[in-house]
Symmetry: C2
Subunit: 134 residues, 2 copies
């Protein structure tokens, strides 16, 4: 069912220093930040030859990553996003296998303008998984 | 400097259930486990179209991931591995930029039989980074 690893998302407490670290210390291809108000985050994509890193920083008081950064003040790996061909078929197969889908179970539009869903980390070895339909 | 994302490593408390979850629930291509006694882990590679997931489970009482699993009993994302062309040049450039290399600073041979180094997570937004020379 899962296809490519679309991205790994890293929550960071300071976007400018994280961008500088990836651009200058690690020599990666770092884009400019953009706000995603409907997801409560500011996002920076880092393009690697085979996948992307997504730096995420809280946008607003209700950001869904505020709790994560309170528990991990240095930042940390927040989620992994796998591509699927049909997100509704994937969701229904996962639920039939006993996995829990977060929220109301309906896909939202993610950072790439495509439907996404998140799966419960307790069902996947403590890993928050995003599925994105491509 | 950094090239492809070689793999994302996920520490798991129960290798068999994690393998079944990736193989059956997520429909991924899951290989068989192999022991890496010099790294204190048993490893399972999951091949995605563009990168790999590495499930890691403690091997022996001194496993370097025992502490991680004590803090994260469900498991969790343990590290990310980036490919570099010349690991000594990469190390020296990182140290010149103020980053800390773990251990004695000399590369070890990793799970793919190639030289690897680990960087201090405090210098990289709470993310443990492995560099592998390819």
């Amino acid at each position: 069912m899962i296809g490519r690893l679309n991205h790994v998302a890293i929550a960071v407490p300071d976007l400018n220093s994280a961008m500088a670290m990836y651009r200058e210390t690690l020599g990666a291809d770092v884009a400019e930040p953009f706000d995603q108000p409907e997801h409560g985050v500011t996002v920076v994509f880092i393009t690697l030859p085979n996948t992307k890193i997504e730096l995420i920083h809280p946008l607003g008081d209700d950001s869904p990553i505020n709790n994560f950064l309170a528990k991990n003040p240095d930042g940390g790996i927040h989620h992994m996003c796998y591509e699927v061909g049909d997100i509704i078929a994937a969701r229904d197969q996962l639920i039939a296998n006993g996995a829990r889908v977060l929220g109301n179970g309906e896909p939202k539009i993610g950072a790439h303008g495509k439907p996404v869903l998140f799966l419960h980390p307790k069902d996947f070895n403590g890993t928050l998984i995003e599925l994105e339909q491509v």
